[in-house]
């Protein structure tokens, strides 16, 4: 048992990184979904401040998930960092600048009393776009990293299309399932925001990603050829969850949200398992870039203990505010 565990420590470490990434994308989608209300001031009665009040306690925590993802990569796979930082230098620079822009809008909407700026449609658009950059761009960039593929490769293209699609769908739903219901208690939020726009957009992007996927299927990397069954199983499960989720939208927004969050999780964890044992095929394996044998078990213990400590606090936070 111990030997088995030791042999698969790199995979377990990838799952830890994937866990942080998954949490980040889901919660970032909630944030993005809430910012959508800001784009419809008349429909939502111009109520920007409740959005800020609801989101600001969550926003800070969401950022920690992203830090957790990056630090997991540094801590577990230090040998991967030279490749990663060199190959993704420009996307990382863009991400950094986007993070800076995002912080302006967070400060203005969450903490300032500049009502004129808050009411400005340009500012609202910047806030929504920066939230999407946070949820979408970072998600696909990071997912490309976690599976070790360049955006020009087929899996990269697939994920780049697929992940923003799920983010969009999640966001639209989050606006109803969580923030929307809380914000407009007693009012049917679904009648206030044209959710269909987001769902339609998601479907279009899903369709594009499917075309790309089938077109590039013959180029399937040799190392992943044995994983075809897993591939089909995961894709089928993800699509089924998406369909069920969208079908349940009218009656159970929360269930829909959970379904799409699970689908996002399947995509991320599937991508990890598909790429394993490589981080960058065929150059870097997870085991080759893995940290020292003495450090790895301690990191896992820290993750488990830390998670046990953090989980009740997270539940308290979400019970209080979302």
């Amino acid at each position: 048992m111990l030997t088995f565990f030791n042999a698969h420590l790199p995979l377990a470490a990838l799952l830890v990184a994937g866990f942080f990434l998954w949490c980040y994308v889901v919660v970032a989608s909630v944030e993005f979904g809430a910012t959508l209300f800001l784009l419809f001031p008349k429909l939502s009665g111009g109520r920007t401040i409740p959005v800020a009040k609801l989101l600001s306690p969550v926003w800070e925590v969401n950022n920690v998930f992203l830090v957790g993802f990056f630090v997991s990569l540094i801590a577990f796979f230090p040998g991967f960092i030279p490749w990663f930082s060199t190959a993704l230098f420009i996307p990382l620079c863009i991400f950094l600048v986007a993070s800076g822009i995002r912080i302006f809008s967070v400060l203005i909407f969450f903490y300032s009393s500049f009502s004129r700026l808050q009411q400005s449609m340009m500012m609202r658009l910047i806030f929504t776009l920066s939230a999407f950059i946070a949820a979408g761009t970072a998600a696909w960039g990071a997912t490309s990293v976690i599976v070790g593929v360049s955006p020009v490769l087929w899996l990269g293209q697939f994920l780049i299309l697929e992940i923003p699609a799920v983010v969009l769908a999640l966001s639209g739903l989050a606006a109803f399932a969580g923030v929307g219901i809380k914000l407009f208690s007693g009012v049917d939020a679904r009648s206030m925001v044209p959710l269909g726009i987001f769902i339609d957009l998601s479907c279009v992007v899903f369709a594009f990603s499917a075309i790309v996927f089938f077109r590039v299927l013959p180029l399937f990397a040799a190392h992943a050829a044995g994983s075809t069954d897993l591939l089909w199983l995961s894709i089928a499960l993800a699509i089924a969850l998406a369909l069920v989720a969208l079908g349940r939208l009218a009656s159970r927004p929360s269930a829909t949200f959970l379904g799409l969050a699970a689908m996002m999780g399947i995509l991320i964890f599937y991508a990890i398992s598909l790429q394993y044992p490589y981080l960058v095929y065929p150059f870097i394996t997870a085991a080759g870039a893995f940290t020292a044998a003495a450090t790895a078990p301690i990191l896992f213990i820290v993750f488990l203990v830390g998670f046990v400590l953090v989980l009740p606090s997270l539940i308290l936070l979400y019970k209080l505010f979302l």
């Binding site: 009040k53 600001s56 306690p57 969550v58 926003w59 800070e60 925590v61 950022n63 920690v64 992203l66 830090v67 957790g68 990056f70 630090v71 997991s72 990569l73 540094i74 801590a75 796979f77 230090p78 040998g79 960092i81 030279p82 990663f84 930082s85 060199t86 230098f89 420009i90 990382l92 620079c93 991400f95 950094l96 600048v97 993070s99 800076g100 912080i103 302006f104 967070v106 400060l107 203005i108 903490y111 300032s112 009393s113 500049f114 940290t291 020292a292 003495a294 450090t295 301690i298 990191l299 820290v302 830390g306 400590l309 953090v310 606090s313 997270l314 308290l316 936070l317 209080l320 505010f321």
Partner: protein, 439 residues
């Protein structure tokens, strides 16, 4: 020097210099707010409760900026210095990973603390209790990330070997690497300095508020109108006394821990000490040079407790490894600041007659600026004093740098971004406190 490397160092320096301003307040303000709330609850003093509540808004804004600049630091860390992460990752991975959870605790309870003032009410023990994890999380974050820097200054718990022309760690004890000899002197000195600086900054803001209101009171008396608001004056006077007591205690602690750090440098980082003191040759009865003034035997006394203590000079080391000499002047300025920070609160406590004088007010404001300067100077001395190494004696900064081109572009963009970010954060705070609720 490779121009890209120079720009990379400039960018990292800008980012850390900016981040530390917000990080130090992020560590200090939770203690300030929590102590004020505790006093308010125990003494049933509405002024202290109000003080805590008003400062908690600033805590939220500064945390947001600190969190984002911290994320940028983390990303820049491996973007610019991949060789460092690849080399030191097995040793520094543990404190960095632990820091994620400390950050989590801080962020979660910050959200709860900030947004439950109305829900749980002023003077509630339950609300105050939620401030404790914020203090714990912020101090743990500062401690853990400083252990990484301590490893860079004095690596321990590792065995290295040159494999294929590259220095590699072949064996590591993560706990020894995390709790190396530099950890205690470095973490204790920096964390108490953050607390001292925060209390001085808060005192300076109280002084500015008193100054403004005193001017208004004089004007009101001259126009025979209703006069000063005694409640507000009392509020700020209490706040000022509270902040200066805290500042004084922590300024003393900075002095003690600084002395400990100097002794540590003598025994573990003699080259850095020689550069700081610009001591040319190894000698006993080594003098202390302070802004050009020579204090006989001072350095030997300082580091060994006796004038016979032998202190290594620059000549004992390869000149190619000498750090830049400007850190000597920076250190002298920092040490002078340390004395100033102890003296200012004492002057305030001793002189009832000049407590409200313009000179005293100016001294307190100067102390706040000096405290911020000393934190920045301390970190510059620590980092520049280790050059040309990123991990002392093992990995040169140039070897850890990214081969990617284009560093110069982001090195030019980011300072602008930081300036805009700082201006917006300050603007928000000033507008909030002038329009809605004075600090």
């Amino acid at each position: 020097m490779n121009p890209d490397l120079l720009w990379g160092r400039v960018l990292m320096g800008d980012t850390l210099g900016f981040h530390i301003l917000f990080a130090l307040l992020g560590v200090g303000i939770p203690l300030l707010v929590s102590l004020a709330e505790l006093i308010g609850i125990v003494r049933r003093d509405g002024d202290f409760l109000q003080f805590a509540r008003r400062w908690s808004f600033a805590m939220g804004v500064l945390f947001v900026v600190g969190a984002i600049s911290g994320t940028i630091v983390a990303v820049e860390f491996f973007m610019l210095w991949p060789g460092f992460v690849a080399f030191a990752g097995p040793a520094i991975g543990l404190p960095m990973f632990l820091e994620v959870f400390a950050f989590f605790i801080e962020a979660i309870f910050l959200g709860i603390y900030l947004f439950t003032w109305d829900r749980w009410g002023d003077g509630s023990w339950r609300h105050w209790l939620t401030s404790l994890p914020i203090i714990l999380g912020s101090v743990a974050s500062a401690f853990l990330i400083t252990t990484v820097n301590a490893f860079m200054n004095e690596p321990s718990g590792i065995v290295t070997r040159i494999v294929g022309g590259v220095q590699k760690i072949v064996s590591v004890n993560p706990w020894q690497a995390m709790f190396g000899p530099a950890v205690l002197p470095e973490t204790s000195h920096s964390i108490v300095a953050y607390y001292a600086t925060t209390f001085f900054v808060a005192a300076a803001i109280c002084v500015l508020a008193l100054w403004r209101r005193r001017g208004a009171a004089v004007a009101a008396r001259m126009s025979a109108s209703s006069g000063a608001d005694p409640v507000t004056m009392r509020y700020f006077s209490k706040g000022l006394l509270f902040c200066l007591i805290g500042a004084f205690v922590f300024a003393l602690a900075v002095g003690f821990t600084g002395d400990n750090s100097a002794r540590f440098l003598a025994s573990h980082e003699p080259l850095k000490l020689a550069a700081i003191e610009q001591l040319p040759a190894t000698e006993s009865y080594a003098p202390l040079r302070f802004f050009g003034v020579r204090i006989p035997d001072g350095l030997s006394e300082l580091v060994g407790g006796t004038p016979r203590t032998v202190v290594k000079g620059l000549a004992a080391f390869d000149p190619a490894l000498w750090p830049p000499s400007f850190i000597h002047w920076l250190f002298d300025a920092m040490a002078t600041t340390g004395f100033f920070l102890v003296v200012v609160p004492v002057l305030y406590f001793l002189g009832r007659r000049w407590r409200r004088s313009r000179v005293m007010f100016l001294l307190i404001i100067a102390a706040a600026l000096a405290a911020i300067f000393s934190v920045e100077a301390g970190w510059i001395i620590t980092e520049v004093g280790r050059q040309p190494f990123v991990v002392a004696g093992l990995l040169k900064t140039a070897a850890a740098f990214t081969p990617s081109a284009g560093v110069v572009v982001i090195a030019l963009v980011f300072p602008v971004l930081y300036i805009v970010l700082a201006v917006i954060a300050l603007w928000i705070l000033i507008c909030h406190y002038t329009r809605h609720a004075p600090l």
